[in-house]
């Protein structure tokens, strides 16, 4: 534990009351009271502030994007943490240990729920950081959006000493949290690789060797046999896209080909040949009756697990813990491997998402918040504890030295589950550019997928339309 001596003591103790929001607002309120009315306030803001109040910088109490450095006492204070479900429970469980080394910091972990947390953070950022927690758990899909749209919304962790951990995390993840190599917007927590959890008993019953499946085409053929023999579907998708994450599987197929919705320059690649190939695979499965409908999102997915509706759950690392939790009685029936390749000989490793802890720019206890983030994410023991609890795979490479990642898992038929994903994490995974328009792209993609699954639409056609819509909505260029 000595290796997590926080280096806050060396950080500049900046006690200047920066960007004090009350003042900013008072000034404007007094304009209101002086009979100027709303428009006058608007105009005043026009002239002087250039519209910062509504956008989460300047008048909102954030310091205009300079990143505030150390704020508050690194040894004392009350901090709150926003996360969701499993990760929230694990962070909560870390607090007593944290308090042994930091007795002066009182930590409250709140389970906001996912996807509710995104709206809540957005609303807080839009209000200039009002009501945000000190520590925010943010997925890779939202991080660039927050950073780009709300400058200063997240504290720059570099002055707090974040850069010293640069090489501690899985390759490629530092680029996500520190795109310009100077400012550090968050620290990586989870690194999730694409996975392929399957019901070994159903495969065995059908006489299909799951480990021998090289490509998704072969997997579809196997799926037909499984359906005929056992009645189980190959996999499930939330066909009407009742939840925002309905296109997870499509995205996995895309990333297995090293492609994404945007290229590294931020141009649109929604309708690339790889995307068409991925959606065509999904259509082929669906037309063959191999895709069950998980409409309703999470609950539908959980009940399909319990009912054994699907032979395969093509979900990332973190889902293993969920399966163990939900169907403990099925110990020994499940196995896991990396997904088959999309094209023969193609890659089977893809980092499909990561999550991070950030410190909000409006926090009055940034140093204390950073101390907690550092404790949770850069201390191998913390990450090992979290993995034992919920199977959440760390981005912190040192954590993998622990035996827990190399033990055979009873639930997964004696496999060394941790090593399966560690291999994927060590494989070169191409950088993925989520951009600040990821949410828009995702929505268009899920709609396109729904058209294919519910109405039998042509993948190439709906993806071309989606790409055109995305270009119109965002002003981005197509990559062609």
């Amino acid at each position: 534990m000595a290796d997590v001596e926080t280096n806050n003591s060396t950080a500049p103790q900046d006690r200047s009351p920066q960007g004090r929001s009350p003042q900013g607002r008072l000034e404007r309120r007094s304009v209101l009271r002086l009979g100027g009315g709303a428009m006058a306030a608007g105009l005043a803001a026009f002239g002087s502030l250039g519209l910062t109040g509504c956008s989460g910088d300047g008048a909102g109490g954030l310091d205009g994007g300079s990143g505030s450095g150390a704020k508050g006492d690194p040894k004392k204070g009350k901090i709150s943490v926003w996360s969701w479900q499993g990760p929230a429970a694990e962070l909560k469980a870390l607090v007593p240990e944290f308090n042994k080394t930091h007795p002066g910091i009182e930590v409250t972990v709140e389970d906001i729920g996912n996807p509710a947390i995104w709206d809540k953070i957005t609303a807080g950022m839009a209000a200039g950081g009002q009501g945000l927690a000190d520590v925010l758990h943010i997925g890779v899909d939202y991080l660039p959006g927050y950073v780009e749209r709300f400058p200063g919304g997240l504290a720059d962790l570099a002055p707090l000493g974040a850069a010293t951990h640069k090489d501690a995390f899985a390759a490629g993840l530092w680029g996500t949290v520190s795109p310009d190599g100077k400012k550090v917007n968050a620290l990586p927590w989870e690194a999730n690789s694409a996975g392929f959890y399957y019901r070994a008993d159903l495969f065995e019953k059908t006489g299909v060797d799951a480990d021998a499946l090289q490509t998704w085409d072969e997997t579809i053929e196997a799926g037909k046999k499984i359906k005929a023999k056992t009645g189980a579907h190959l996999l499930g998708i939330d066909k009407p896209a009742s939840q925002p994450d309905a296109a997870n599987f499509f995205q996995t197929l895309l990333q297995l080909q090293g492609a994404f919705y945007f290229d590294l320059e931020g141009r649109i690649t929604l309708d690339s040949p790889e995307a068409v190939r991925a959606l065509t695979l999904i259509k082929t499965m669906n037309d063959a009756g191999l895709v069950s409908d998980l409409a309703g999102g999470w609950n539908a997915l959980m009940s399909s697990l319990k009912k054994g509706t699907n032979a395969v759950v093509p979900y990332p690392t973190w889902f293993g813990g969920i399966i163990e939790e939900q169907v403990p009685a099925e110990s020994g029936k499940w196995k896991v491997r990396l997904p088959p390749a999309v094209r023969r000989g193609g890659t089977t490793a893809a980092t499909v998402n990561s999550t991070h802890l950030a410190v909000s720019g409006s926090s009055q206890h940034q140093s204390a918040a950073w101390a907690f983030v550092e404790f949770a994410l850069t201390r191998p023991a913390s990450q090992v504890k979290i993995y034992r609890g919920k199977g959440i795979a760390p981005a912190l490479m040192k954590a993998y030295d622990d035996n827990v990642f190399h033990e055979p898992s009873t639930f997964f038929s004696g496999q060394r589950k941790g090593e399966v994903f560690l291999a994927a994490l060590k494989a070169q995974s191409p950088a993925v550019n989520y951009t600040s328009d990821y949410a828009r792209a995702l929505k268009l993609v899920t709609d396109a997928q729904s058209k294919v699954l519910l109405k039998g639409a042509e993948p190439a056609k709906v993806l071309a339309e989606a790409a055109a819509d995305l270009a119109r909505q965002t002003g981005r260029k197509a990559a062609k």
Binding site: W118, E148, G296, R440, D469, R472
Partner: protein
């Protein structure tokens, strides 16, 4: 934002006020009393409304707000999703609102009937859905209508009817939304109509029956004309409510599947809170306001009192 019916400006002072009154200084007391309310209104309504307009003329470019003039409004016209949302809202307006109001009228007449025992119990029963929280009833409906595990499909399967994709098929999702809205708002409208119904003089019915009018003729020539102002009110309120529809589609279907239940409200929310595009969302809000204003005016013109009745 609600729309106040356009009332004649009342600012015109009556000329020829007595000279005595003009000499006495007006007391500041009334202004002081309304000041807190005015200040609150200014801070929490007027200011956001004004600010929203300012925002609608801006767009975020690389984290900084940039003045783009009417760009956001022009973008609206070229946005297929905006038109989809408008069309969906229009369908609800054209189908669900008239059906619901017809139902409410029937209910009001039934609840007004002296033949009915325990009328107050029924009135309460029909009004109660209105007091349930929007999100709560949205969630309740989404559970009831779940394709695999919903109570509704379970009951239907007892009748030998296969699972209906209530929320997972475009058309069915629209029907489900209509059902939910009807359940929630019919009683409320019925109560407004009922209140008006009780003001229709009994003598008119007596006269009608003397003239040999049957029940239907009496309904057509006495009840309906009597209900006219209340019908106008419920129509305008339902129109405004429908155009602002947000909670139900958001909770029931999230605007899906494939935008079949996307309303302007949901689209606005999405632009603001999923895409952080507050400028465009504000433009949507203003477009919606203008639309509500125009439709409200139109309805007053069509249904309003032309001074011929009463």
């Amino acid at each position: 934002m609600t729309l106040a019916p356009p009332v004649a400006a009342t600012g015109a002072r009556r000329s020829g006020a007595p000279a005595a009154r003009r000499r006495r200084r007006p007391s500041p007391a009334p202004y002081l009393f309304v000041l807190p309310a005015l200040l609150l209104f200014a801070a929490f309504k007027l200011y956001p409304i004004g600010w929203s307009f300012v925002m609608s003329l801006h767009r975020k470019v690389a984290g900084a707000d940039t003045f783009v003039g009417a760009d956001n409004y022009l973008r609206l016209l070229d946005d297929p999703l905006f038109w989809t949302a408008l069309r969906n809202t229009g369908v609800i307006l054209a189908v669900q609102v008239p059906l619901m109001l017809a139902l409410a009228t029937g209910l009001a007449v039934a609840l007004n009937s002296t033949l009915l025992r325990g009328r107050s119990v029924f009135r309460l029963g029909f009004f109660l859905p209105m007091v349930t929280g929007l999100v709560a009833y949205g969630i309740a409906f989404s559970v009831l209508l779940n394709k695999e595990y919903g109570l509704v499909n379970w009951l239907l399967s007892g009748l030998g009817i296969g699972p209906v994709p209530w929320l997972t098929d475009g058309l069915w999702a629209q029907i489900s939304l209509g059902l939910a809205l009807t359940w929630h708002y019919t009683g409320y409208n019925a109560v407004i109509l009922l209140a008006r119904l009780q003001n229709v003089p009994k003598e008119l019915y007596d006269a009608a029956s003397v003239d040999g009018a049957g029940a239907f003729a009496a309904f057509r020539h006495v009840t309906l004309p009597g209900l006219r102002p209340a019908l106008l009110l419920t129509t305008v309120l339902s129109t405004i409510g429908t155009l602002q529809l947000f909670d139900e589609p958001m909770v029931l279907t999230g605007g899906g599947p494939d935008n079949a239940t996307l309303t302007i409200g949901v689209y606005l929310y999405r632009n603001a809170f999923s895409y952080f595009d507050f400028g465009y969302a504000s433009a949507l809000a203003y477009a919606l306001t203008v639309l509500i204003g125009l439709l409200g005016l139109l309805q007053f013109r069509l249904l309003g009192d032309k001074g011929s009745t009463s």
